[in-house]
């Protein structure tokens, strides 16, 4: 019984760092660009398990998607002020675009 508890505690201990290290980042869509802390970004390096919130700050709709092998998603179109999120679980590379404005493109590198 004691052994089982110890194993459980040890396992929990191993899991905690992974949970703590998963981050939430907000990428805004502003002036038809992807921005991190108000600066335009075309590549972004994150860790597996991180979640990106795609927040639309333009006065028109955006539709964020990726058809990458790593992660395929279509967030649909949404207006200013709304945000939708994607968690990147596996390492690799994903191109994320706006379907409506294809000049908006960011490469997400997941470590």
């Amino acid at each position: 019984m004691l052994n089982k508890k110890m194993v459980a505690v040890a396992l929990f201990g191993m899991l905690v760092p992974a949970i703590v290290s998963a981050e939430d980042l907000t990428l805004t869509q502003s002036n038809k660009s992807f921005k991190l802390n108000d600066s335009k970004v075309e590549t972004l390096s994150i860790n597996a398990g991180d979640t990106i919130h795609f927040k639309n700050e333009d006065p028109f709709f955006h539709n964020i998607f990726s058809l990458s092998d790593l992660k395929t998603f279509d967030l649909g179109s949404y207006p200013a002020g709304e945000s939708k999120s994607v968690t990147f679980d596996e390492p690799g590379e994903a191109e994320v675009e706006c379907a409506i404005h294809p000049e908006m493109l960011i490469v997400i590198e997941v470590k």
């Binding site: 028109f60 709709f61 539709n63 058809l67 279509d74 675009e97 379907a99 409506i100 404005h101 294809p102």
Partner: protein, 350 residues
């Protein structure tokens, strides 16, 4: 109170009222005059640029532009030797063809209208579905497409290489590069980058020229940016967001951008075209559905058809009054630039 005091007081009241009335109407007049002038923000946003973006590997030179112009007007670039780029992109028809949809090889009627090539230099994506990014990428597409100019590229290179006049023109434009698909595309792109807007009444109005635009057109600009929200897609000097939208035409035969990027919202979506010189390029829309600008305005006023369940969320009934619709059309007409002077080249025949 005697009658004289009463009279004086009444007079003072009348004078005061009249003065207030005058000052109010003066304020209203000056407010109206202010609205009739372009704001600094408008000037910054909509005034046409004086330079054209060019790729480093194909900077424009007079020789490249000249070669491109020769090729553009040369029907020998088609399999039938009968269709040139200018057949569908005719400078006398606003660099389009006045047909609802293009006519291709063997007089076949094609599925999409010939877009104007005006200001394509500024576009981030070419063609109605944006499948080419640059003019160099786009240029050979219609030449080799079976339905359009139906020209085998190998045969074209042989044909042009047998004409000494062309050998000289290619050597002057692209020394040592020879007559190749790549140099044909580059030369056509260099020429197309010269086909840009000239000053329109709207530009003169932006620069502060009195009487450049009618009052109706100026009001129409207000409708365009405001109640009609046209700027959600048609914005900036070239009046496009370089984006792709399903604007709810009653026609879903063509899935448009969806064939290039299979994302739901792109079903029936096409590139936002420029509105510059729009009065010269009827009929309108990717399928030529509307003959007049009035019909186009009526379409947007109605909010479009919910055709594939992917109607752009920017499309909503606008409830424009008759006057607002008329003003909007007047504004669109004010985007017509001064006529361009185009000389047709004498092509080398041997």
């Amino acid at each position: 109170m005697n009658s004289s005091t009463f009279y004086q007081k009444s007079l003072a009241k009348i004078v005061a009222t009249a003065l207030i009335g005058i000052s109010l109407s003066l304020a209203a007049t000056s407010a109206m005059a202010a609205e009739m002038k372009a704001s600094d923000e408008d000037t910054q946003k909509y005034l046409r640029p004086m330079t054209v973006p060019q790729p480093a590997n194909n900077m424009m030179t007079p020789e490249r532009i000249e070669l491109g112009k020769f090729l553009f007007f040369d029907p020998r670039l088609s399999g039938s030797n009968f269709i040139s780029c200018a057949t569908c992109h005719n400078p006398a028809l606003g660099w389009s063809d006045a047909q609802p949809t293009a006519v291709g090889h063997g007089m076949d009627i094609l599925g999409r209208s010939s877009p104007t090539i005006l200001n394509t230099a500024y576009q981030r994506f070419q063609l109605w579905d944006g499948r080419a990014k640059t003019l160099e990428e786009q240029a050979l597409g219609p030449i080799v497409a079976g339905g359009e100019m139906a020209q085998d590229m190998g045969s074209l290179i042989e044909e042009l290489s047998a004409i000494p006049g062309y050998i000289k023109l290619f050597e002057a434009a692209y020394p040592g590069e020879g007559i190749q698909g790549v140099t044909i595309a580059k030369a056509l792109a260099a020429f197309e980058r010269t086909i840009v807007s000239t000053d329109a009444p709207f530009d003169r109005w932006l620069k502060g020229v009195d009487g450049a635009m009618s009052k109706s057109a100026i009001r129409g600009f207000g409708v365009f940016k405001g109640k009609a929200n046209c700027t959600a897609c048609h914005d900036g000097f070239n009046f496009t967001d370089d984006g792709f939208h399903n604007v709810g035409l009653n026609d879903m035969k063509d899935m448009g951008r969806y064939k290039i990027k299979p994302i739901n919202i792109l079903k029936g979506a096409f590139k936002t075209p420029t509105l510059r010189d729009i009065d010269l390029t009827a009929p309108y829309m990717h399928n030529g559905a509307y003959k007049t600008l009035q019909e186009v305005v009526e379409h947007y006023n109605g909010g479009g058809f919910e055709n594939a369940g992917t109607l752009s969320p920017n499309m909503k009934p606008l409830k424009l009054s008759k006057k607002e619709k008329k003003d909007l059309v007047e504004f669109l007409k004010s985007l017509t630039g001064d006529p361009m002077e185009i000389t047709i080249p004498q092509l080398p025949v041997k």
